[in-house]
Amino acid sequence: MKKIIILNWVLKIFIALLILAVPINEVLRYNLSNEAITLMYKDSIFGNFSPYVMFLRIAILIFALFNIQKGLQGFIKEGFFNFKSSERFNRSGYLLLFLSVSGIIITLLGMNQSQEVETLSNIIIDLLLLAIGIGLLAFSDVIKKGNSIETENNLTI
């Protein structure tokens, strides 16, 4: 349980940092001239809309991490096999799946404009995210099954 408490706090800090990163990035971008912004995103497939797409992806990531954190909190409050945590992990799994698949599509679409090394590293990160998403879905199923076994065990007299 100690490790879960630590992970819960690490996730809380990470979510807070991500939430802080969005306005900081926006302030930094606001100080740039229009030419600089255009130059910065000229290689991107979304052009000047790139930061907004990035914000959307970060928002999805924050929501997924928030769900994982709430799932862990459920472990701490209600024990390992509880329905709420299972639902939270299931939701975050689907969000990470969406994030990784959309990331792979975006990377593949912009393959011509970016360097090969960058494309490869982006795809590797997205595949890792995909594995984590599928892992969370499997984990959610394990918790759900554990919950039904625990209930049956409690109702065995």
Partner: protein
């Protein structure tokens, strides 16, 4: 449910209260209530043995099978 628990009937026949049975079995009254109301998913042989020993009856006296309609 196909298996009906007739523990209440046996308790009445032996003129014993649920609390007393639970106490002699060493289980909580809440757990005995789960068993009596048919909410239990399973019953251990050791529990069944204890009930039969205390109530001086056979497993068939406290459990009955009925076909679902």
């Amino acid at each position: 449910m196909s298996i009906i628990i007739n523990l209440d009937i046996m308790l009445a026949k032996r003129k014993m209260r649920s609390n007393e049975l639970a106490e002699r079995m060493g289980i909580t009254t809440a757990n005995l209530s789960i068993l009596k109301t048919g909410k239990a998913k399973a019953i251990r042989f050791s529990t069944l043995e204890l009930i039969c020993e205390i109530l001086e009856c056979q497993p068939g006296d406290i459990m009955e099978f009925t076909k679902d309609k």
